[in-house]
Structures are given as structure tokens and as C-alpha cells.
């Protein structure tokens, strides 16, 4: 198997993953509990990816400099809670990150 075949196989498998439940639930009715579960996938996935993403960035920076992204996350959380808009997380969080990074000793 060369690089091309490996990429093709990984791509084909990924596409079948994407198509799997769509084809399955077109033939049979999705049970009520699965319907409830499917509504929880996106919030759970976003929370998992967010927590892992923030932790990975912080671990790469060391104890002192990790304060900057953590401050940015705190600012983002407060902004979203106060405005109700998810976009506020970036609009407030990124400037907070730049300021906190500039203020912290290198």
C-alpha cells in the first residue's frame, strides 16, 4: 500500500462513517431515545473539543504562560453569558488573549 492508497482508504472509510446512520435511519424509524441522544451529540462534542483544545494549548505553554489562554476563556465565558451570543466568545476572547499574553512575563 503506498501513500495514495492509504489516503484513499482512509477517505473511503471516513465517507462511509458519514453516510452510515443517514442510510440506516432512512430505512427504519429512529427510536425516540436515539432521537433524544442525537440532540445531545453536538453540545457534548463541542464541549469535549473545547475542553481538550484549551487544555492542549495550556499544556504547551507551561504553568505561568497558561494563565493567558485561561484568562481569555474566562472572558469569553462571561461575554457569552452576558450577551447570549456564541460569537462573543471570539470577539472578546481573542483580544483578551493578546492583552494577557503581552502583560505576562516571557
Amino acid at each position: 500500500m503506498n501513500a495514495w492508497t492509504v489516503i484513499l482508504a482512509a477517505g473511503l472509510g471516513s465517507y462511509l462513517f458519514r453516510l452510515s446512520m443517514i442510510v440506516l435511519f432512512d430505512r427504519i424509524t429512529m427510536p425516540a431515545y436515539l432521537q433524544r441522544a442525537s440532540e445531545l451529540v453536538a453540545p457534548a462534542a463541542f464541549a469535549a473539543l473545547a475542553a481538550a483544545g484549551v487544555a492542549t494549548v495550556c499544556m504547551g505553554l507551561g504553568a505561568t504562560r497558561a494563565a493567558a489562554p485561561l484568562a481569555a476563556v474566562a472572558a469569553a465565558v462571561i461575554a457569552v453569558l452576558r450577551t447570549g451570543s456564541p460569537q462573543a466568545a471570539i470577539l472578546v476572547g481573542m483580544p483578551a488573549l493578546w492583552v494577557a499574553t503581552a502583560l505576562l512575563p516571557s
Binding site: 501513500a3 489516503i7 484513499l8 462513517f17 462534542a45 499544556m59 453569558l81 476572547g93 499574553t101
Partner: protein, 245 residues
């Protein structure tokens, strides 16, 4: 019924909803382009991970492992394990695409990835099933074009973005915003806190299995909440618009 000609405004709205995601996704695409050039992989093969695998983490892992000479079966298995979450997303979108033409399901399924699911769900909830298709397509196609362009640009220009921008942090922040905004419902609140906690505990799990584990734990925790519970506004000045049942 899929009628895209009549839904140009919804297609444009979907594309606009996708724009905030691009701020973090484009730098990620550039990084993948750079890594494809740096690894011992033909540049075109590295770029083809974009249209074929179309999921950043799996693409990075595939390119890195091929470059490192990992056994092909291990590379394919690793990419697929990283992409297990796509099965969850497929189940999430299935209810909206039930009964649609096969060509639509095949195209729409191909475009499934984290941001397109987020934008798509937003459209289906606000606009309903018919107009939601156009909204999904608008966002997903813009993402696809931007992603492939960013990978190609990364392969050509290399790492020239200023490091002080810390653009790698845009995606985590955006996801924080998406998660916090969904805290209103008790079931979603449980899912969010459980998934975040398990993701942190399983951070060192190999092949990003921690993410799949965290999603499973989050969904399980959410299912323990009473169904159709009242939504509590996360905005202190705006009461919930939903009537408790």
C-alpha cells in the same frame, strides 16, 4: 423537497453563519498544507487528504504517520478511529435528511464535519427542514472551498502567519462559545459538563479516543435528565422564550 434555486437567501445566510468558523479553520488548513510539504509525502497526495478524508485531525495524523513510515493498516485504522465522531454526526443529521433524494444524502453526508454540523443544526432549528437544507449547503460548501484553498495555500507559501496572533486558539474559543450558549436546557447542560470533564480526564488517551469517549459520556449524562425540561435563559436580562411543560 430540495429546491435550491428558490433558497439563495438561505444559502447566503448559511455561508454567513460559517464565516466565524473560518477564522480558526483557515490557519488550521494552512498548517496541514505546510505539514504535507514537510513530511515525506507527495504534495498532491497531502492536499488530497482534504477532499478525501476532509477532517483536520485525521488528515494531520495520516500525513504525519505516512511521513514517519508507519504501517499502512495502522495509518488507516488511526484515521478512522479519530473520525469515529462522524458516525455520531451522521446520526444527528439523519432525522433532517430522512426521505430526501439519494443524491442529496450522498452530497450532504460528504460535507459532514464539526463546523458544517453546527451551522446545519442552527439552520434546521431556526428555519425548519425545507429551508434548512439550503442553509446547511451554503455553510458547508463555503467551508469545503475554504478548507481546500487553505491547504493548497499552506503547501505553497509555508508558515508565514505571525505567531503573536495565536490563531490556533480561535477554534477552542469558538467551541467554548457554542457550548456555553447551549447551557439553557438541563439535558444539554449535563451533556456539556460531563463531556468536558471526561475530555480533560482522557486528554492523554491515544488517537483522540478521549473525544469519542467524552461525547459518549456527555450523551449518556444528558439522557439521565428528564426529557423536555424547561429551558433556563443563560442571559441574565433575557427570560427564556420557551414555555415550561
Amino acid at each position: 423537497m430540495i429546491s435550491l434555486r428558490a433558497d439563495r437567501r438561505d444559502i447566503a445566510a448559511g455561508a454567513r453563519t460559517m464565516v466565524p468558523w473560518l477564522a480558526g479553520i483557515v490557519p488550521f488548513g494552512l498548517v496541514i498544507g505546510v505539514s504535507a510539504v514537510q513530511a515525506d509525502v507527495p504534495t498532491l497526495a497531502g492536499w488530497l487528504t482534504g477532499p478525501l478524508i476532509y477532517a483536520g485531525s485525521a488528515q494531520l495524523a495520516t500525513i504525519g504517520m505516512i511521513g514517519a513510515g508507519t504501517a499502512p493498516v495502522v495509518v488507516v485504522a488511526s484515521a478512522l478511529i479519530i473520525n469515529i465522531r462522524l458516525i455520531f454526526y451522521s446520526a444527528t443529521m439523519a432525522r433532517y435528511w430522512r426521505g430526501t433524494p439519494l443524491w442529496w444524502r450522498m452530497v450532504a453526508a460528504y460535507l459532514i464535519v464539526d463546523p458544517s454540523v453546527a451551522v446545519g443544526l442552527d439552520g434546521y432549528r431556526r428555519l425548519g427542514r425545507g429551508r434548512g437544507h439550503a442553509h446547511y449547503l451554503g455553510g458547508a460548501v463555503l467551508l469545503w472551498v475554504s478548507w481546500l484553498t487553505a491547504i493548497a495555500a499552506g503547501a505553497m507559501v509555508g508558515a508565514g502567519l505571525p505567531a503573536w496572533l495565536h490563531l490556533e486558539f480561535v477554534i477552542p474559543l469558538y467551541l467554548v462559545g457554542q457550548a456555553i450558549a447551549k447551557l439553557a436546557r438541563p439535558a444539554q447542560r449535563r451533556a456539556i459538563f460531563a463531556a468536558a470533564a471526561v475530555a480533560l480526564l482522557a486528554l492523554t488517551a491515544p488517537l483522540q479516543l478521549g473525544i469519542a469517549l467524552a461525547i459518549t459520556a456527555g450523551v449518556a449524562a444528558g439522557l439521565t435528565a428528564r426529557p423536555a425540561g424547561p429551558a433556563r435563559s443563560i442571559h441574565p436580562l433575557k427570560p427564556s422564550t420557551e414555555v415550561p411543560r
